[in-house]
Point group: C2
Chain length 376, copies 2
């Protein structure tokens, strides 16, 4: 398999790198953030708006779409890109995360995972091969292996078993995928939580299987931050530098910066979009809770330094009014801003790596305390 990822710049003082990830639907500049389009739509936005904020790739949940409308329907419509009319790259997850977090009655065996649909309780059985077939039929650009992980906190032996299963499933997924002859790529997901030995074992076993990309799974579920950083450092030494690395589901800007510094290339998270709908907005000066009455007559944009459609056109007072009236355009305008804010940080991250100033950028963003409330 020819390499479809190449590094174009490396930070001198850390493992941060800027790269290009080629897919059948275009090239993604990394480090990249994928807005989450669970049901084939980034919540509240049109695709045109998603493109306008600078998204180059989106994440679609194969679990949701396989339940409704079903893989047959997506396939009959010409595949995922045609069905949802998104012409750029798509990564689908295997459904593992949704199964373990949404479904009742989950039973995991060597063969696969049996669970009840969270919609109607009907019993579903999914093997690692099924997860590959399903995603391949949908036609995503990047497919993810079915993995398994227990909830945090977990017993060491439970996690050891999860790592064993995840590797075994990854091998079967790899074999199944090898039969396909398409331009798609299948990435492996490492598990092991924050247990150094188990994460190391998981990564080494995956690397031996030679995937074109690798993910950190099962993180951001309550583990201490220092342990998370240790995992990323371990991964940075073990994953081949020629392959892209994806930190699944983690969206705090600080964590993203730490992860980029440790060689991570790809991210996804519902944080910016979900927070937008809840009225929590990110700005270069900190968080804004737009429902606060202090914004009722505030003529300023959310963020003076932001070039998004929302900040270029609307006041905090109007945004508060829309939020309070529960107008859908509140969710739309807020989501445009939060996603633009995120994607702009990624643009700046890439630029800083190319111009050898990533540590300065990281420090300046973290010192502005973007996770905290905007100072008055």
């Amino acid at each position: 398999m020819s390499s479809r990822f190449r590094t174009i710049a490396e930070d001198l003082g850390s493992a941060a790198r800027a790269g290009l990830l080629e897919t059948p639907h275009g090239t993604v500049e990394t480090p990249a953030f994928m807005p989450v389009a669970s049901q084939g739509t980034v919540k509240a936005l049109t695709h045109a708006q998603v493109e306008s904020v600078g998204a180059q790739i989106i994440l679609v949940n194969s679990y949701h779409l396989s339940l409704r409308p079903g893989v047959e329907a997506v396939e009959a419509m010409g595949g995922l890109h045609t069905y949802i009319s998104w012409p750029r790259p798509i990564l689908t997850d295997s459904g593992g995360f949704q199964i373990y977090s949404l479904s009742p009655l989950v039973q995991v065996s060597d063969e696969g995972v049996r669970f009840a649909s969270h919609l109607d309780g009907s019993r579903v059985f999914l093997t690692p091969e099924d997860a590959v077939d399903l995603q391949a039929r949908m036609g995503a650009d990047i497919l993810m292996c079915l993995d398994y992980f227990p909830a945090y906190p977990y017993a060491e032996e439970t996690m050891a078993e999860a790592v064993r299963l995840t590797t075994a499933w990854a091998r079967r997924a790899r074999e199944r995928f090898a039969r396909t002859d398409g331009p798609q790529q299948l990435w492996g997901i490492s598990q092991g939580g924050v247990s150094p030995g188990l994460r190391r074992r998981s990564i080494e076993e995956l690397v031996a299987l030679e995937f074109p990309g690798y993910a950190y799974g099962g993180l951001g579920i309550g583990e201490p931050k220092t342990r998370l950083l240790e995992v990323l450092e371990t991964g940075n030494t073990l994953f081949p530098r020629t392959k892209p690395r994806y930190l699944m589901g983690m969206g705090y800007i600080e964590d993203i910066l730490e992860a980029v510094e440790r060689g991570v290339d790809l991210f996804d998270c519902v944080l910016p979009t979900r927070n937008a709908r809840n009225g929590t907005l990110f700005t270069s000066r900190g968080r804004v809770s737009i429902k606060n009455v202090k914004y009722a007559r505030d003529p300023r944009p959310l963020d003076e330094s932001c070039a998004c459609y929302t900040c270029q056109n609307f006041s905090r007072a109007y945004l508060r009014h829309l939020f309070e009236r529960q107008e859908m355009s509140s969710a739309v305008l807020n989501t445009i801003h939060n996603l633009h804010f995120y994607l702009d940080i990624f643009r700046r991250i890439r630029h800083s790596i190319e111009s050898n100033s990533f540590p300065i950028l990281k420090k300046s963003i973290i010192s502005k305390e973007t996770e905290k409330e905007e100072p008055t």
Copy 2:
């Protein structure tokens, strides 16, 4: 007051005319349709999307905005246009319709109307002068007089009293408005239901007061269609041809065409936007209820002949999926389409009047039965 409306083309065989309505925020080509932005936003759309479908003027409810955020807040923010960041013309209604339809405990006297806020039950008293002041302070381009009308069906003497009050209030509103020295304009609203004598009296009394524009109020609330058409014919003979006429709140395409034929220039209705959110979509071949299972694998756009963003990019199958998943983008894409459909019909109406083919256009649109379900 210099004329701010001029006719640029007249249909030879009917009273239909195309005109230009000048306002401080730009010129509106008539016949025109105003999307309804009750709370200062067309539901589900950004202003950019409202402009992209071709809207030249929107209607904002002064009733809603005067309760929340309040006229002081709107004024403090620089007026309605600045507050909501809509740079084009705005017409505000007086609140009459909202008061009679939303508020409990409405008491109408010669002085004005006393009602309970539909939000918190607090008692509000609104005079015709208040309604003018409130709209003038908000800064709309076109203000409407406070009117009064009873629910349909009504006793003749009840309507006679409503006409008397509406004229008396219009006179007071006119006097109050005469004190302002701005570029805004205040229009009168006729009442009288479908009673020929009362509607005639109402119109004649209003015309004597010399407003720069006139509306038909209290229609589209259950009266027979033939009676409605009679009212429009009466109005067409009584309203000066030099002034614009506005049929309030009526949105069926057939009724709009009949009204244009009888000299009406301006319309507003929640029909296209509300129906969009409920999944009922207008097409050149008839109505489509997008939730119907028959669209689950339908790769066609809603309307093959439509140039809107939705039809240019998405299939019925995807639109059905979004509707079924209750995604906000369903409301967004559906509203873009329905509004584009309406505003496109208005573009065609204007063009047909200018090219002397309005009767042909009217016949062709009505024969396509846009109000009925699309044939299979």
